[in-house]
Protein backbone atom coordinates (compact mmCIF):
# COMPACT_ATOMS: atom_id res chain seq x y z
CA UNK A 1 0.00 0.00 0.00
CA UNK A 2 1.27 3.47 -0.86
CA UNK A 3 -0.27 6.91 -0.47
CA UNK A 4 -1.37 6.47 -4.09
CA UNK A 5 -0.62 10.11 -4.83
CA UNK A 6 0.65 10.19 -8.41
CA UNK A 7 0.69 12.49 -11.40
CA UNK A 8 1.34 11.89 -15.09
CA UNK A 9 4.34 12.94 -17.15
CA UNK A 10 4.83 12.25 -20.83
CA UNK A 11 7.71 10.37 -22.33
CA UNK A 12 8.14 9.29 -25.96
CA UNK A 13 6.28 6.10 -26.77
CA UNK A 14 9.47 4.59 -28.16
CA UNK A 15 11.27 5.19 -24.84
CA UNK A 16 8.32 3.73 -22.96
CA UNK A 17 8.53 0.56 -25.06
CA UNK A 18 12.28 0.37 -24.57
CA UNK A 19 11.91 0.65 -20.78
CA UNK A 20 9.03 -1.83 -20.79
CA UNK A 21 11.29 -4.40 -22.41
CA UNK A 22 14.05 -3.66 -19.94
CA UNK A 23 11.74 -3.82 -16.94
CA UNK A 24 10.70 -7.37 -17.82
CA UNK A 25 14.24 -8.50 -17.05
CA UNK A 26 14.57 -6.61 -13.74
CA UNK A 27 12.88 -6.56 -10.36
CA UNK A 28 10.87 -3.44 -11.21
CA UNK A 29 7.11 -3.88 -11.22
CA UNK A 30 6.33 -1.35 -13.94
CA UNK A 31 7.70 1.32 -16.24
CA UNK A 32 6.50 3.92 -13.72
CA UNK A 33 8.47 2.23 -10.92
CA UNK A 34 11.58 2.19 -13.06
CA UNK A 35 11.24 5.81 -14.16
CA UNK A 36 10.59 6.92 -10.56
CA UNK A 37 13.70 5.06 -9.37
CA UNK A 38 15.95 6.49 -12.06
CA UNK A 39 14.62 10.02 -11.67
CA UNK A 40 15.13 9.95 -7.91
CA UNK A 41 18.72 8.89 -8.43
CA UNK A 42 19.38 11.60 -11.02
CA UNK A 43 17.57 14.34 -9.09
CA UNK A 44 19.53 13.50 -5.91
CA UNK A 45 22.77 13.66 -7.87
CA UNK A 46 21.95 17.14 -9.21
CA UNK A 47 20.77 18.34 -5.80
CA UNK A 48 24.00 17.20 -4.17
CA UNK A 49 25.96 19.59 -6.38
CA UNK A 50 24.22 22.56 -4.75
CA UNK A 51 25.41 22.61 -1.17
CA UNK A 52 27.39 24.95 0.99
CA UNK A 53 28.49 24.11 4.53
CA UNK A 54 26.20 25.66 7.13
CA UNK A 55 28.84 27.61 9.02
CA UNK A 56 30.53 30.93 8.51
CA UNK A 57 34.07 31.92 9.51
CA UNK A 58 32.98 33.04 13.00
CA UNK A 59 31.12 29.77 13.70
CA UNK A 60 34.09 27.88 12.38
CA UNK A 61 36.48 29.44 14.88
CA UNK A 62 34.15 28.73 17.81
CA UNK A 63 33.59 25.15 16.74
CA UNK A 64 37.32 24.59 16.31
CA UNK A 65 37.89 25.98 19.79
CA UNK A 66 35.49 23.42 21.28
CA UNK A 67 36.95 20.59 19.22
CA UNK A 68 40.41 21.52 20.46
CA UNK A 69 39.25 21.72 24.07
CA UNK A 70 37.76 18.22 23.76
CA UNK A 71 40.93 16.85 22.19
CA UNK A 72 39.46 16.10 18.78
CA UNK A 73 41.88 18.38 16.93
Amino acid sequence: MTTGKYTTVSIPKSLYNRIKKLVEETGFKSVSDYVTYVLREVVAMHESEKYEEPFGEKDLEEIKKRLKALGYI
Partner: protein, 381 residues
Protein backbone atom coordinates in the same frame (compact mmCIF):
# COMPACT_ATOMS: atom_id res chain seq x y z
CA UNK B 1 33.54 17.65 0.86
CA UNK B 2 31.71 15.36 3.28
CA UNK B 3 28.12 14.29 2.77
CA UNK B 4 25.47 16.89 2.03
CA UNK B 5 22.87 16.93 4.83
CA UNK B 6 19.73 14.94 4.20
CA UNK B 7 17.25 17.05 2.27
CA UNK B 8 19.98 19.52 1.37
CA UNK B 9 20.06 21.70 4.46
CA UNK B 10 21.42 21.17 7.96
CA UNK B 11 18.60 22.18 10.26
CA UNK B 12 19.49 24.11 13.40
CA UNK B 13 16.49 24.84 15.58
CA UNK B 14 18.15 26.26 18.67
CA UNK B 15 16.74 29.34 20.40
CA UNK B 16 18.99 32.39 20.69
CA UNK B 17 20.34 33.10 24.17
CA UNK B 18 17.82 35.92 24.71
CA UNK B 19 14.90 33.84 23.55
CA UNK B 20 16.05 30.92 25.69
CA UNK B 21 16.22 33.08 28.80
CA UNK B 22 12.79 34.56 28.09
CA UNK B 23 11.22 31.14 27.59
CA UNK B 24 12.79 29.64 30.70
CA UNK B 25 11.85 32.67 32.82
CA UNK B 26 8.24 32.42 31.72
CA UNK B 27 8.01 28.62 31.60
CA UNK B 28 5.12 28.55 34.06
CA UNK B 29 3.00 30.66 31.70
CA UNK B 30 3.23 28.16 28.83
CA UNK B 31 0.94 25.22 28.24
CA UNK B 32 3.26 22.40 29.22
CA UNK B 33 3.37 19.00 27.59
CA UNK B 34 5.28 16.30 29.45
CA UNK B 35 7.34 14.09 27.17
CA UNK B 36 9.34 10.91 27.73
CA UNK B 37 13.05 10.30 27.26
CA UNK B 38 12.59 9.09 23.67
CA UNK B 39 10.88 12.31 22.64
CA UNK B 40 13.39 14.35 24.69
CA UNK B 41 16.23 12.86 22.66
CA UNK B 42 14.21 13.39 19.47
CA UNK B 43 13.81 17.06 20.37
CA UNK B 44 17.57 17.38 20.78
CA UNK B 45 18.20 15.57 17.50
CA UNK B 46 15.76 17.80 15.64
CA UNK B 47 17.24 20.92 17.23
CA UNK B 48 20.83 20.09 16.29
CA UNK B 49 20.07 18.74 12.83
CA UNK B 50 20.69 15.04 13.41
CA UNK B 51 17.23 14.55 11.89
CA UNK B 52 17.60 17.10 9.07
CA UNK B 53 15.47 18.02 7.17
CA UNK B 54 12.93 17.66 10.01
CA UNK B 55 12.44 20.88 11.91
CA UNK B 56 9.80 19.52 14.26
CA UNK B 57 7.54 16.59 15.04
CA UNK B 58 5.71 15.19 12.04
CA UNK B 59 2.36 16.46 10.88
CA UNK B 60 -0.22 13.98 9.56
CA UNK B 61 0.74 14.40 5.90
CA UNK B 62 4.36 13.49 6.61
CA UNK B 63 3.40 10.58 8.83
CA UNK B 64 1.13 9.17 6.13
CA UNK B 65 3.93 9.37 3.56
CA UNK B 66 6.46 7.86 5.96
CA UNK B 67 4.20 4.93 6.78
CA UNK B 68 3.08 4.19 3.25
CA UNK B 69 5.94 5.37 1.01
CA UNK B 70 8.93 5.51 3.40
CA UNK B 71 9.36 9.14 2.38
CA UNK B 72 8.41 12.57 3.67
CA UNK B 73 5.72 14.48 1.80
CA UNK B 74 8.64 16.26 0.05
CA UNK B 75 9.70 12.85 -1.40
CA UNK B 76 12.87 12.79 0.73
CA UNK B 77 13.56 9.25 2.05
CA UNK B 78 12.43 8.83 5.66
CA UNK B 79 11.41 5.58 7.32
CA UNK B 80 10.84 6.15 11.05
CA UNK B 81 8.00 8.35 12.35
CA UNK B 82 9.27 11.13 14.59
CA UNK B 83 6.22 11.91 16.60
CA UNK B 84 4.93 13.01 19.95
CA UNK B 85 1.67 11.60 21.22
CA UNK B 86 -0.91 12.84 23.71
CA UNK B 87 -3.91 11.33 25.39
CA UNK B 88 -7.37 12.86 25.26
CA UNK B 89 -6.75 14.36 28.73
CA UNK B 90 -3.43 15.90 27.67
CA UNK B 91 -4.98 17.49 24.57
CA UNK B 92 -5.57 20.83 26.24
CA UNK B 93 -4.28 23.01 23.39
CA UNK B 94 -5.14 23.81 19.80
CA UNK B 95 -3.44 24.28 16.46
CA UNK B 96 -1.64 27.62 16.56
CA UNK B 97 -0.71 27.40 20.25
CA UNK B 98 2.85 27.43 21.54
CA UNK B 99 3.50 24.51 23.85
CA UNK B 100 6.48 23.93 26.09
CA UNK B 101 7.85 20.38 25.87
CA UNK B 102 9.03 19.31 29.31
CA UNK B 103 11.02 16.24 30.28
CA UNK B 104 11.33 15.29 33.94
CA UNK B 105 10.77 18.88 35.03
CA UNK B 106 13.23 20.33 32.44
CA UNK B 107 11.71 22.58 29.76
CA UNK B 108 13.40 21.48 26.54
CA UNK B 109 11.70 23.14 23.61
CA UNK B 110 8.89 25.35 22.42
CA UNK B 111 6.65 23.71 19.86
CA UNK B 112 4.41 25.60 17.45
CA UNK B 113 1.42 23.30 17.19
CA UNK B 114 0.60 22.86 13.50
CA UNK B 115 -1.46 19.69 13.59
CA UNK B 116 -3.27 17.49 16.11
CA UNK B 117 -4.48 14.24 14.61
CA UNK B 118 -5.54 10.70 15.33
CA UNK B 119 -3.78 7.76 13.72
CA UNK B 120 -4.25 4.07 13.10
CA UNK B 121 -1.98 2.23 15.55
CA UNK B 122 -2.41 -1.09 13.76
CA UNK B 123 -1.34 0.36 10.42
CA UNK B 124 1.52 2.18 12.16
CA UNK B 125 3.04 -0.94 13.73
CA UNK B 126 2.50 -3.12 10.69
CA UNK B 127 4.25 -0.63 8.46
CA UNK B 128 7.10 0.38 10.77
CA UNK B 129 7.79 -2.92 12.54
CA UNK B 130 6.28 -5.36 10.00
CA UNK B 131 4.40 -7.00 12.86
CA UNK B 132 1.63 -6.27 15.32
CA UNK B 133 2.99 -8.75 17.86
CA UNK B 134 3.11 -6.93 21.22
CA UNK B 135 6.16 -8.97 22.26
CA UNK B 136 8.11 -6.70 19.89
CA UNK B 137 9.27 -3.79 22.11
CA UNK B 138 8.49 -1.14 19.48
CA UNK B 139 5.01 -2.53 18.89
CA UNK B 140 4.41 -2.71 22.63
CA UNK B 141 5.36 0.93 22.98
CA UNK B 142 2.95 2.06 20.26
CA UNK B 143 0.02 -0.12 21.27
CA UNK B 144 0.27 0.18 25.03
CA UNK B 145 2.10 3.40 25.83
CA UNK B 146 1.40 5.96 23.12
CA UNK B 147 -1.54 8.32 23.36
CA UNK B 148 -4.36 8.32 20.84
CA UNK B 149 -3.42 11.65 19.21
CA UNK B 150 -0.23 12.93 17.63
CA UNK B 151 0.91 16.53 17.70
CA UNK B 152 2.98 17.93 14.87
CA UNK B 153 4.86 21.19 14.56
CA UNK B 154 8.22 22.94 14.47
CA UNK B 155 10.29 23.05 17.61
CA UNK B 156 12.83 25.45 19.00
CA UNK B 157 15.32 23.96 21.43
CA UNK B 158 15.84 25.85 24.70
CA UNK B 159 17.65 23.17 26.68
CA UNK B 160 18.69 19.52 26.57
CA UNK B 161 18.48 16.57 28.91
CA UNK B 162 21.53 16.63 31.24
CA UNK B 163 24.34 14.77 29.52
CA UNK B 164 26.93 12.97 31.68
CA UNK B 165 28.96 12.23 28.55
CA UNK B 166 29.07 15.73 27.08
CA UNK B 167 32.80 15.46 26.36
CA UNK B 168 31.91 12.68 23.90
CA UNK B 169 29.06 14.59 22.30
CA UNK B 170 29.47 16.41 19.00
CA UNK B 171 26.67 18.04 17.02
CA UNK B 172 26.49 17.53 13.24
CA UNK B 173 27.81 21.03 12.62
CA UNK B 174 30.84 20.13 14.77
CA UNK B 175 31.55 16.75 13.16
CA UNK B 176 31.36 18.44 9.76
CA UNK B 177 34.04 20.91 10.81
CA UNK B 178 36.08 18.11 12.39
CA UNK B 179 36.00 15.96 9.26
CA UNK B 180 37.00 18.98 7.20
CA UNK B 181 39.89 19.76 9.56
CA UNK B 182 41.10 16.20 9.21
CA UNK B 183 40.92 16.45 5.44
CA UNK B 184 38.44 13.58 5.20
CA UNK B 185 36.37 13.51 2.03
CA UNK B 186 34.92 10.08 2.66
CA UNK B 187 33.76 8.99 6.11
CA UNK B 188 32.13 5.73 7.14
CA UNK B 189 29.70 5.74 10.06
CA UNK B 190 29.49 2.88 12.53
CA UNK B 191 26.56 2.51 14.88
CA UNK B 192 26.99 0.51 18.07
CA UNK B 193 25.28 -0.28 21.35
CA UNK B 194 27.94 -2.59 22.69
CA UNK B 195 31.46 -2.91 24.00
CA UNK B 196 33.77 -3.70 21.07
CA UNK B 197 34.96 -7.23 20.34
CA UNK B 198 37.27 -8.28 17.52
CA UNK B 199 34.35 -8.81 15.13
CA UNK B 200 33.43 -5.13 15.45
CA UNK B 201 37.04 -4.06 15.00
CA UNK B 202 37.43 -6.09 11.81
CA UNK B 203 34.22 -4.72 10.33
CA UNK B 204 35.34 -1.17 11.14
CA UNK B 205 38.85 -1.59 9.82
CA UNK B 206 37.77 -3.35 6.67
CA UNK B 207 35.44 -0.45 5.89
CA UNK B 208 38.11 2.06 6.90
CA UNK B 209 40.48 0.59 4.35
CA UNK B 210 38.34 2.13 1.60
CA UNK B 211 37.61 5.58 3.05
CA UNK B 212 39.47 8.44 4.73
CA UNK B 213 38.03 8.09 8.21
CA UNK B 214 35.63 6.24 10.47
CA UNK B 215 33.03 7.84 12.70
CA UNK B 216 32.27 5.48 15.59
CA UNK B 217 28.96 6.65 16.95
CA UNK B 218 27.64 4.70 19.96
CA UNK B 219 23.98 5.14 20.77
CA UNK B 220 23.47 6.34 24.30
CA UNK B 221 20.00 5.79 25.65
CA UNK B 222 17.79 3.44 27.57
CA UNK B 223 19.30 -0.03 27.58
CA UNK B 224 18.03 -3.52 28.24
CA UNK B 225 18.88 -5.24 31.50
CA UNK B 226 22.18 -7.09 31.09
CA UNK B 227 23.61 -4.66 28.48
CA UNK B 228 26.92 -2.94 29.19
CA UNK B 229 26.53 0.46 30.82
CA UNK B 230 27.15 3.49 28.61
CA UNK B 231 30.28 4.58 30.51
CA UNK B 232 31.76 1.10 30.14
CA UNK B 233 31.17 1.11 26.37
CA UNK B 234 32.77 4.54 26.03
CA UNK B 235 35.79 3.61 28.13
CA UNK B 236 36.24 0.38 26.20
CA UNK B 237 36.14 2.20 22.86
CA UNK B 238 38.49 4.90 24.08
CA UNK B 239 41.01 2.24 25.07
CA UNK B 240 40.58 0.30 21.83
CA UNK B 241 41.09 3.39 19.72
CA UNK B 242 44.06 4.61 21.77
CA UNK B 243 45.86 1.32 21.23
CA UNK B 244 44.76 0.08 17.84
CA UNK B 245 43.57 2.94 15.60
CA UNK B 246 45.76 5.61 13.97
CA UNK B 247 44.64 8.80 15.68
CA UNK B 248 43.88 10.69 12.49
CA UNK B 249 41.61 8.02 10.99
CA UNK B 250 38.95 7.54 13.66
CA UNK B 251 36.54 9.69 15.69
CA UNK B 252 34.46 8.53 18.64
CA UNK B 253 31.37 10.53 19.47
CA UNK B 254 27.97 9.59 20.86
CA UNK B 255 24.42 10.13 19.69
CA UNK B 256 21.55 10.23 22.18
CA UNK B 257 18.69 8.26 20.75
CA UNK B 258 16.26 5.55 21.71
CA UNK B 259 16.29 2.46 19.57
CA UNK B 260 12.96 1.52 17.98
CA UNK B 261 14.17 -1.99 17.00
CA UNK B 262 12.49 -1.51 13.62
CA UNK B 263 15.12 -3.55 11.77
CA UNK B 264 15.26 -2.60 8.06
CA UNK B 265 13.42 0.71 8.39
CA UNK B 266 15.60 1.69 11.30
CA UNK B 267 18.78 0.85 9.39
CA UNK B 268 17.78 3.53 6.86
CA UNK B 269 17.12 5.95 9.70
CA UNK B 270 20.52 5.22 11.25
CA UNK B 271 22.16 5.89 7.89
CA UNK B 272 20.31 9.21 7.54
CA UNK B 273 21.44 10.33 11.01
CA UNK B 274 25.08 9.56 10.16
CA UNK B 275 24.73 11.30 6.79
CA UNK B 276 23.72 14.41 8.71
CA UNK B 277 26.87 14.10 10.81
CA UNK B 278 28.78 14.16 7.51
CA UNK B 279 29.26 10.47 6.75
CA UNK B 280 29.41 9.44 3.10
CA UNK B 281 29.17 5.72 3.94
CA UNK B 282 27.41 3.70 6.61
CA UNK B 283 28.09 0.18 7.87
CA UNK B 284 25.13 -2.19 7.95
CA UNK B 285 25.78 -5.53 9.53
CA UNK B 286 23.80 -8.65 10.24
CA UNK B 287 20.32 -8.08 11.73
CA UNK B 288 20.97 -4.36 12.07
CA UNK B 289 18.54 -2.76 14.56
CA UNK B 290 16.67 -6.04 14.85
CA UNK B 291 15.23 -7.71 17.90
CA UNK B 292 14.36 -11.35 18.57
CA UNK B 293 13.59 -13.17 15.34
CA UNK B 294 11.39 -10.47 13.83
CA UNK B 295 13.61 -9.71 10.81
CA UNK B 296 15.68 -11.77 8.44
CA UNK B 297 19.44 -11.58 9.08
CA UNK B 298 20.10 -9.43 6.00
CA UNK B 299 16.74 -7.69 5.56
CA UNK B 300 18.26 -4.45 6.85
CA UNK B 301 20.73 -4.57 3.96
CA UNK B 302 18.18 -5.41 1.27
CA UNK B 303 15.99 -2.39 1.99
CA UNK B 304 18.72 -0.02 0.79
CA UNK B 305 17.94 -1.08 -2.80
CA UNK B 306 14.71 0.90 -2.53
CA UNK B 307 16.51 4.22 -1.99
CA UNK B 308 18.60 5.31 -4.97
CA UNK B 309 18.49 8.87 -3.61
CA UNK B 310 19.53 8.22 -0.01
CA UNK B 311 22.80 10.11 -0.47
CA UNK B 312 24.85 7.84 1.78
CA UNK B 313 26.45 4.63 0.58
CA UNK B 314 25.70 1.54 2.65
CA UNK B 315 28.60 -0.80 3.30
CA UNK B 316 27.32 -4.30 3.88
CA UNK B 317 29.04 -6.89 6.00
CA UNK B 318 28.26 -10.45 6.75
CA UNK B 319 29.43 -11.98 9.99
CA UNK B 320 33.13 -12.08 10.93
CA UNK B 321 34.43 -15.01 12.99
CA UNK B 322 37.71 -16.50 14.14
CA UNK B 323 38.81 -19.55 12.13
CA UNK B 324 41.28 -21.86 13.87
CA UNK B 325 42.45 -23.26 10.58
CA UNK B 326 42.95 -19.85 8.89
CA UNK B 327 44.48 -18.66 12.15
CA UNK B 328 42.73 -15.31 11.89
CA UNK B 329 39.53 -13.34 11.78
CA UNK B 330 37.69 -13.95 8.54
CA UNK B 331 34.21 -14.19 7.05
CA UNK B 332 32.47 -16.79 4.97
CA UNK B 333 33.48 -15.25 1.62
CA UNK B 334 37.17 -15.72 2.37
CA UNK B 335 37.24 -18.81 4.60
CA UNK B 336 36.70 -22.27 3.07
CA UNK B 337 36.68 -24.15 6.38
CA UNK B 338 33.80 -25.82 8.14
CA UNK B 339 31.81 -24.71 11.16
CA UNK B 340 33.90 -26.94 13.45
CA UNK B 341 36.87 -24.60 12.93
CA UNK B 342 34.96 -21.40 13.52
CA UNK B 343 34.54 -19.47 16.73
CA UNK B 344 31.70 -16.96 16.55
CA UNK B 345 31.85 -13.60 18.28
CA UNK B 346 29.06 -13.59 20.76
CA UNK B 347 28.06 -10.70 22.96
CA UNK B 348 26.40 -13.18 25.29
CA UNK B 349 29.65 -15.14 25.61
CA UNK B 350 31.59 -11.95 26.40
CA UNK B 351 29.02 -10.81 28.96
CA UNK B 352 28.98 -14.20 30.68
CA UNK B 353 32.77 -14.37 30.77
CA UNK B 354 32.96 -10.89 32.29
CA UNK B 355 30.33 -11.80 34.87
CA UNK B 356 32.33 -14.85 35.89
CA UNK B 357 35.61 -12.85 35.76
CA UNK B 358 37.03 -15.34 33.29
CA UNK B 359 39.86 -14.66 30.84
CA UNK B 360 38.67 -13.98 27.30
CA UNK B 361 40.94 -15.07 24.43
CA UNK B 362 42.61 -12.14 22.64
CA UNK B 363 41.13 -13.24 19.32
CA UNK B 364 37.68 -12.52 20.82
CA UNK B 365 38.42 -9.30 22.65
CA UNK B 366 41.51 -7.10 22.95
CA UNK B 367 43.24 -7.49 26.34
CA UNK B 368 43.06 -3.72 26.90
CA UNK B 369 39.31 -3.78 26.31
CA UNK B 370 38.88 -6.84 28.55
CA UNK B 371 40.77 -4.99 31.31
CA UNK B 372 38.33 -2.08 31.08
CA UNK B 373 35.33 -4.38 31.25
CA UNK B 374 36.79 -6.27 34.21
CA UNK B 375 37.81 -3.09 36.04
CA UNK B 376 34.17 -2.19 36.64
CA UNK B 377 32.69 -4.00 39.61
CA UNK B 378 29.28 -3.89 37.94
CA UNK B 379 29.62 -3.14 34.21
CA UNK B 380 26.02 -4.09 33.35
CA UNK B 381 22.71 -2.25 33.38
Amino acid sequence: MVSRPHGGRLVVRVASENRRERVLASAAEYIQLKIGLREAYDVENIGYGVYSPLDGFMVSEDLEHVLLDMRLSSDIPWTIPIIVSVTQEEKTFDVGDEVLLVYDGHPLAVMQVEDIYSYDKKLYVEKVFKTSDPSHPGVYNVLREMGEYLVGGRIELVDTVPNPYSKYYLRPIETRVLFRERGWRTVVGFQTRNAPHMGHEYVQKTALSFVDGIFINPVIGRKKKGDFKDEVILEAYTELMRNYYPRDTAVLSIVRYEMRYAGPREAIHHAIMRKNFGCTHFIVGRDHAGVGGFYGPYEAQEIFKEFPDLGVTPVFFREFFYCRKCGGIVHEKICPHGEEHRIRFSGTYVRNAIKKREDIPPYIIRPEVARVLLSHPDPFV
